[in-house]
Each structure stands twice: as C-alpha cells, then as structure tokens.
Amino acid sequence: MAEMTPTTNNPFAYAPAPESRSVVDIAPSYGLFIDGEFTEAADGKVFKTVSPATEEVLSEVAQAGAADVDRAVKAARKAFEKWSALPGAERAKYLFRIARIIQERSRELAVLETLDNGKPIKETRDADLPLVAAHFFYYAGWADKLDHAGYGADPRPLGVAGQVIPWNFPLLMLAWKIAPALATGNTVVLKPAETTPLSALFFADICRQAGLPKGVVNILPGYGDTGAAIVAHDDVNKVAFTGSTAVGKEIARTVAGTEKKLTLELGGKGANIVFDDAPIDQAVEGIVSGIFFNQGQVCCAGSRLLVQESVQDELLDSLKRRLTTLRLGDPLDKNTDIGAINSAEQLARITALVETGEAEGAERWSAPCELPSSGYWFAPTLFTNVTQAHTVARDEIFGPVLSVLTFRTPEEAVAKANNSQYGLSAGIWTEKGSRILAVAERLRAGVVWANTFNKFDPTSPFGGYKESGFGREGGRHGLEAYLDV
C-alpha cells in the first residue's frame, strides 16, 4: 500500500488495517436478473468486471442485448399489473424488508462495492451503505401515504420504469432509482454501469430474500447500447438517468415526442465559495470532502474553489498541508482516504484534462504521494492561477482535481459561480448568516451547502438547474418522477 508521506520516522504512520474480503463471496459469473431468475444473455455475451485497485478480474457478467431488454420489459409489464394494484401498505412492507436486509448485509455490500468500484471502505461503510438502507426505509413509508403527498388523491404510477445508473455510487444510485419507483407502484428495468455491475446483482438476491414478486425488479448489466435500448423501448413509460450531460441530452432527444416521463441527473462543476471570514480549518475540511470524496468522481463535487483574494494564500497553504496527510492506497484499508479511480478510461480522461490544464497555463500542484504500481490511481491535485476561460474551470473532470479561482466581492463570487452550463451544487463558507442567505438565494444550483459540503439524506431533494438535468430525487419531491401527475 502506498502512502502519501514517507513512513520513515513519521510519527503518524499507520499500520495496514485491511477490512476482510471473506465477508463477501463473489461468484465467478453472474447472469442477467429477469423475471425473478438469473439467466444468460440471449446472444451469450459476457463481460468482465475488474477491481480498479488491482486490475484483478472479480467476475464475468452477462451482457444484456436488445432481446434481453425486451424480455425484461415484458416481465416488468406483466408484474406491473399486480404490483401497482397491491395496497400501498403491502408494497411498503416489501420495501421495509429490503431496507432491513440491506442493513443486515451492509458489511458484505460495502466490501463488495469497494472491490468493484475502488472507493475506500471508509466511504462505502459509513456513507454509501447507510444511505442506501435509509433511502429504502424512507420511501417504504411513502407507499401507503401517496394520497397525502400533494399530488392529488390516489396518484397513479406510470408503469415500467427504465433506469440507467452510473458507476460512482453504484448501490446508492440504484436505491435512489428503485426505492421511489417501487413505492409508487412502478416496476423497473435497471442497468448498472459496465464497470460496477456487482452490487446491483447482489441487490437482485436481496429482492429474492425479501420475497419481492418476480418481474418487479429486473437488472440488466451492460454497456451504453443496453441503456439506449432500455430508453428507446416502446413499452417503457418512465426513463430515469444519472450520468453525463452528453448522454442525458441524447436521451432527451430519444424520448422527444413520446409519452415517457423523463428525469435526468447529470454533470456538475460545483463552486465552493470561501469568504474571508470563514473558519479556515473547517473550510479546508469542507473543500477536501467536496472534491476528494470518492476521488472526486461525484457529480455534485465542489470542483471549483472560489476563494476571496485576501485569504487565498492562507487557505491554500492550509489546504496543501492537509492534502499531504491524505492516505492514498488500498481501498479496503480502513485508514485509506483516497481510493482508486474507477476505470482505465476514467483515469485517461482525468489525465487528459489535467494535461490540458497545464498546457493552458494553469499551475498544477499534486500531493506528493507514491501511486500503487497496479490499478488506476491519480494523486489529489489542484490548479491555481485558473481563469474562467480555462478548460479545468469549465469542464467536469470527475476526478480528484480542484481548480482554484479567486474573487474580491460577493457579487463577483456569485457571477463566477453561476458562470457555468451546470447548476447542480454549490458551497458557501462564511460566518455571516445574512451573507449565506443572500448568496444562497442567488446561486443557480439545486443543492447549496453552507458551512458543510457533500451531505446527502433521503428526505432531501437532490437535482440540478440548467444542464445538470431536471427532476429531483429524494424527499416528497422525488415521488413526482414516478407518478402520473
């Protein structure tokens, strides 16, 4: 395991503290989950999923094609009739069961997620899994209270929901999609990302344990073409997608002119604004969690730091000092802060954008750390001397790379923060309450964290302005996406 600081004579050196892999049993191969059964793909195609930390092949997974999509949609359609007719209280009990089983199996799922995704066990254990269970628990309670949700009496489900989720929070994104869909009486066909299919397949097993009627949840691993087939399928009534803005636009074009209801949760370039009166140490912690949580592979990451000019030097010194203490390495180690980048492709994308940043004249600083020899890794990096025209200030990097810009007045901070095609998240650091409220009101972003960052909760609506997408996930708002209202 590599560490960020030389271990010789380092009083802060940690001994390795790996979480045991034995808690999870990964089969050598997995099928598609259609109509309550694991089956091979119609054309027999499979793909491998690897651990991004070691490049070890974890399993071989069936790859769904158009024929499989059709079969899954048919199964979901068939199941819809009974599922939607169940009393809400009964649907609720299935979801409560699922929430409880997730809690029971959370250590297993955390280790699995860390293996397949590359993120630190600290995060899967303390953030992903508790939020997954909470999300099912929260929406379970809505299933028999929909009359009171503000959408009129007896709001109806849409039918079959086609859901396509990303690799950055595989099981959490599944929960965000499936929990509200089932609570409102829809059935689902869900495609996990090609680099992280395993936790969704384990979820299929949880559905089995919970006794969920067959066909209510169908899981189809695959690549972009599988997702496109789900989105375009004539008998899908609802499309929910989390992923890149480019793909989101393509999906919006595909569903144009149809009755399909669409929600999109797309890219971001969140501004994290630090005023001169902010408590610097706390702001530094917030900046770190804002951009280095999950290796920065977070759509709502605080990837643009806007710091008031007068405190720039102090803040950056403090930030760099903090970054040198982050521990990068084995994601299963309980002391690891920074895990692996999810895939070779993503690492190449990050690397290319960082090279562009350097070529365009921004100043690069990377935390001094040794990267493991196998797997996909990128050291925590920040750019200073960044202007709004720089690519690293405009494009979503989706990696552990922070672009630092400065401002003098609150007006300038707001103008720079809003100068983006995106509008997903923003952060504000100041001790002055009225300034928080004034700035928060003027930020065109769906989630604003004041004196905190990257906090999530099933009761709290999440989603973007502008090209960060539309619709909300979480809370009462999250029901609307799955109701015919």
């Binding site: 919006a252 002119g257 989630v447 964290w449 905190t452 709290s460 090209e467 809370g475």
Partner: protein, 296 residues
C-alpha cells in the same frame, strides 16, 4: 351623422421589452374572423424578432424573479383590473376570433379575468406547497424552496385565443419566470391586445413578450435558443412538438408537452404553476448550544 363617422382602426403590433414594435422584417399577415372577414394585418414575426424577445425576457428575469412574491401578486392583480376595464374590447375580439356570440365571448373573457385573479393569489403561496423543511438525519437545517426556471417560451393554444392564452401565460410569470409568448397563429389579436394591458399594469417591460405570426417559424429558433430555459408546447401539433422537443434537448430545456384541454374553464390545478420551477435545497449545520468544539 353617426352613419358618416368612420371608425379608427388599430394597428396591431408586437409587445417586446415593454415596447410595441412592428416585426423587424416589415412583414404582416391577414387575420380574419371565424366567418372569413378581414380583421387586421398582424405582424408576421421573424427569427430576429424571436431573438430580440429572448434578450428582453432575459434582461427582465433578475428583476422579476427578485421581486417579493407579494409584489408579483399585486402586479398580476393589477393586470386583472386592467382587463376588467377593457372587457368590452376583449369580448369583441374573442367573439370575432373564435366565432362566438357576444354572450358566450363575454363568459370566456370573464373566465380569463378570473383566472388572472386566481394566479395573482398563487404568487406567495406556491413556495409553501412546492417547498418545505426536510427532516434530515443529522444536525442540519435543510430547506427546499422553488425558484423560477428562467426564460420560458410559451406556444399559446391555437383554438382558445384568450382564455387559453391567459391560462398558460399567467402561471409562468406568477412564479417569477419571464415569457416569450407565441400567439395563436390564426387568432393573434386578443394576445396582441393583452400586451397593451400588460404595458399599463405595472408589469416590468420584458416580463412578457408577445409575438404573432407562423407558430412553427417562430418556435424553431426559440426551441433551439441557448438562453431559453423552458418550453411550453401547448400550441404545437404532434409533429411540431416532437421537432421542438428534440431541439430543446440541446440545452436541456424544461419542456411541457402538449396536453389535450377540452375545457379551458375547468379547474387548472397546479401543474402549470410547478412546471417551470426548480427546487433549491440549502443545508446548514445547526450546531448545538452549550457544546464545545466544532459544530461541523
């Protein structure tokens, strides 16, 4: 002597940025009554007119969205007052446009005025039905509030030239958006006259911009416009709606698809009010009294 008096015709003009320009193209088209009689020459708006309207709507957005909800309600109520004063004119125009009897047209205009009043009352209530406090599992204050989406292009219904128009326009601006409205292609006169009412109702210029002409011709550049945030396709047929929705995907406009409306006098519900709203959720640590150390 009364037989000898020649009436004064009105030149119908666009309403853009609080002013009444002709189409920059210099084009007009003939508007006829339900019976085919000539009523007026209406401006045949161009793509440039559409772009100018977006500029005006964008310029007005910050000020309008930034007004207090109470103030927006007052302004919208003022619109209803002005409509009431011009009731006879609108009854005549609606009767001509839609081939209705005077009494039926009167009922339509009354319903339209009442609808303005209804929406005027919504401005300071919608945040309370669409937003709220979220009980997150942690020491955080967490509040969701609706905010206007921005500049919204509205394709007014083709058949209901006034009540339909009011029913799609009022909710868009009640919530703080600004609008570029494409009037009913065949019956644009009530919409153009509405511009005159808005101009005298304390509504800031640019909050509503009214264009007349060929719906498809004007809507295409607006659906593709990068500075338009929302699109209400009410007045589009199926083919046009799909085409515009595809164009709207380029900057992920919020699109309200055309929905059949049999009876514009029916209770409209709140879905048009919420169609062009964004939800912003703000978090802040609550800390704890008397505790030592960080509240984060």
């Amino acid at each position: 002597m009364s037989d000898a008096r020649l009436s004064v015709f009105k030149t119908y003009k666009l309403y853009v940025g609080g002013k009444f320009p002709r189409s920059e193209s210099g084009r007009v088209y003939e508007v006829t009554s339900g019976k085919g009689e000539w009523l007026a020459n209406a401006p045949l708006s161009s793509r440039k007119d559409a772009r100018d309207a977006v500029v005006a709507a964008r310029k007005a957005f910050g000020g309008w969205a930034g007004k207090t909800a109470y103030n927006r309600g007052q302004v919208l109520y003022r619109v209803a007052e002005m409509l009431e004063g011009r009731r006879e004119q609108f009854v005549r125009e609606v009767a001509d446009a839609e081939g209705l009897s005077k009494s039926k047209a009167g009922a339509v205009v009354d319903a339209a005025i009442d609808r303005w009043v209804w929406y005027a009352g919504w401005t300071d209530k919608v945040a309370q039905i669409a937003g709220g406090a979220n009980p997150v599992a942690g020491p955080y204050f967490n509040l969701s509030s609706p905010e206007p989406t921005g500049v919204v292009t509205v394709l007014a219904p083709q058949e209901s030239s006034f009540l339909g128009l009011v029913s799609v326009l009022a909710p868009v601006i009640a919530t703080g958006n600004t609008a570029v409205v494409i009037a009913s292609e065949r019956s644009p006169l009530p919409a153009l006259s509405l511009g005159e009412v808005l101009a005298t109702s304390d509504l800031p210029g640019g909050v509503v911009n009214v264009l007349s002409g060929r719906t498809a011709e004007i809507a295409a550049p607006l659906a593709a416009h990068q500075d338009v945030n929302g699109l209400d396709l009410c007045g589009a047929d199926e083919v046009l709606a799909k085409e515009l929705q595809v164009a709207a995907a380029d900057n992920l406009k919020r699109v309200l698809r055309p929905q059949p409306v049999d009876d514009w006098t029916a209770d409209p519900g709140t879905h048009r009010l919420t169609a062009f709203l964004e939800t912003k959720t703000v978090w802040h640590p609550t800390g704890s009294l008397g505790a030592s150390g960080s509240s984060y």
